[in-house]
Structure formats: structure tokens, C-alpha cells
Symmetry: C2
Subunit: 171 residues, 2 copies
């Protein structure tokens, strides 16, 4: 998982619940298909390789993920002043046999628009996804990040656990 969320600003409490005037203009919600026209793909391009996606391909992938219901959720924050998506992150639920047929949530692809950082949007996205995992009955939620982002995720309530290994088939 590549991640580039914002760092929390000192001015705003970590416990900011998203119910102040500023947050009213920056609501968090699930991805909608119309977000293709609101800069969602371009935002992902700030995180990782993300070439433009045709309407047909976007709709097809959106349908793939929608079919998974609550087992795969993409959250977005829209700036209602500009109509652009300024933050996003996803979470999916893995069903296991261990832990009494338990479930583990995986957070992926968290990114905040470079021009919108310092407003705790990254924390809001991560807390939204972790709460989804908790309500879904997962016994834990995990993610992979660069070592530079360890402190950010610790502020979100995570602890360092293991190392991530990867094998690449192509870039």
C-alpha cells in the first residue's frame, strides 16, 4: 500500500468529530460513480501511478467493488466549495478461518490533495475507515505505510506490528 495522507495540524484537535462549520463544507461519504468527474482519479495520481480511466472502465470497476457491498468501501471527502474530491481511502474486509471465522480489515490507498493538507482530512478518512471495520465486526484493521508515516498512523490509533514484503510482476 502506498500512502500519502496529510499530517495533522496542531490547531485542530485530533478528536475533531467532523461536525464544525469547516467540516460541513468537507463532508465524508462513500465513493459515487459521479466522482469520476470530480477529480477522484487525478487525486489517486498524487498517491501512485494512476493514468486516466475511461468512463466504461471506471463504471466497470465501480460495479466490481459495489458488488462486494460493505466488504469493500471507498470513502471520499468532497470540497463542496469546488466540487472536487480532496481526500480518499479504501477499506476491505477479509474473511478468515482463524479467530473463530474472524474478519480482518485492510486499509489501502489513502491520499489527501496536496492543496488541502493540514486540515486533518487524512485523519478523518482513516478514522472513518477504521470505524467501518469495527462496526463490520473485524477483530483488527491493518495497513502498510512508509516508515515516514508511522507517526501519523500512531496518532490515528495504530501500532507498528510487522514488515511488509512485496513481489512485483510489473510497475
Amino acid at each position: 500500500m502506498d500512502q500519502m495522507p496529510d499530517q495533522p495540524s496542531k490547531e485542530i484537535s485530533e478528536t475533531s468529530g467532523g461536525d464544525n462549520d469547516a467540516d460541513d463544507l468537507l463532508p465524508i461519504r462513500h465513493l459515487e460513480i459521479s466522482d469520476h468527474g470530480k477529480g477522484f482519479v487525478e487525486l489517486l495520481g498524487q498517491l501512485s501511478t494512476c493514468p486516466p480511466i475511461s468512463d466504461a472502465d471506471f463504471s466497470s470497476r465501480f460495479a466490481d467493488l459495489s458488488a462486494l457491498g460493505d466488504d469493500h468501501v471507498i470513502s471520499v471527502i468532497e470540497d463542496l466549495k469546488t466540487g472536487r474530491i480532496v481526500a480518499t481511502g479504501s477499506v476491505f474486509v477479509e474473511k478468515k478461518f482463524i479467530h473463530g471465522c474472524g474478519k480482518v480489515a485492510h486499509i489501502e490507498d489513502v491520499v489527501v490533495d496536496a492543496a488541502a493538507r493540514g486540515r486533518c482530512l487524512g485523519q478523518r478518512v482513516v478514522r472513518f475507515l477504521a470505524e467501518h471495520a469495527r462496526v463490520a465486526g473485524c477483530y483488527k484493521v491493518i495497513l502498510d505505510c512508509t516508515s515516514e508515516l508511522r507517526g501519523f498512523y500512531e496518532k490515528c490509533g495504530f501500532v507498528e506490528k510487522n514488515v511488509q514484503m512485496a513481489m512485483y510482476f510489473r510497475d
Copy 2:
């Protein structure tokens, strides 16, 4: 992800393709529902918390995962001499928007029976799962492990990439 695969023995080549006489008695295949009676759950108990699972719960979870088709595969190695499952690992495919609606595979829950270690069964499981990911069109396959297992996964073709963070809702 918790993992406890075996370490490869020096006697057996890393490129062992699974087609020698010993491997004929230790075939690798997908999980079958009858593996509930062949020690599959007990084997997972060597990896993580894994209390006994009722037939009904096992069947239900097996059906959940089977419904995902090739997007979620559990591999097992059965010892045909004893009829017991001696190694397992799972892989699931995450569909993304990044990388041109790309796919990433996640390897989870790799474990080899303590009495069957030193026979490269862990490597066979991991290579089987990674090959599934490659054929499924994933651009990479990732996993999390303890730092002690880094060397094992490097021998399987992985490189260290990031840190894993976790938030626990319960044990």
C-alpha cells in the same frame, strides 16, 4: 498477517518444482470442504488463535470464500500417507483504481505443520500463491510478516517494502 512457514532446508533446491517422488505424496491443491476433517483448523492453530469450528460454521465460511472464485484461494498440502493437511496459505485479489484499474494480491495465513518443516513446503505454498497472483493479472503480490521471516520471503522472491501498522478491536 501472522506467519510461521518453515525455513527451507539446505538439502533441497529452491527451484524444486514439486514433481519428485516425495512431492507426489505431498500434493498442493485448493482447500476442499472435507479438509475440515483433515486437521486444517488445527494446523491454523499453530499460526494464530484458532478455536474449533463447527461443521455449519466451516461450511458457511467456505461458501463465503468460494463465492469469490479466483479472487480468494486457499491452498493446502495434504500428506497422502497420513491424510492430514500439513501446510496452507491463502491469497486474495484486491481490485483497485490505481495502476489503470490494476489488481494487487495479498498473501495471508501461511503455516507449515511443525512436524513437516525442513521440506520446503512453505516455499511451495508461497510460490503457488504468488503464481496464482501473477496469472490473475496482479501487478504485485504483498504480505506482512515478522522481521524473523524476512529472509525466508526473500528466498521466495520478495523484497522488504514498508511497515505494517495495526489497530486491534479485540484479541
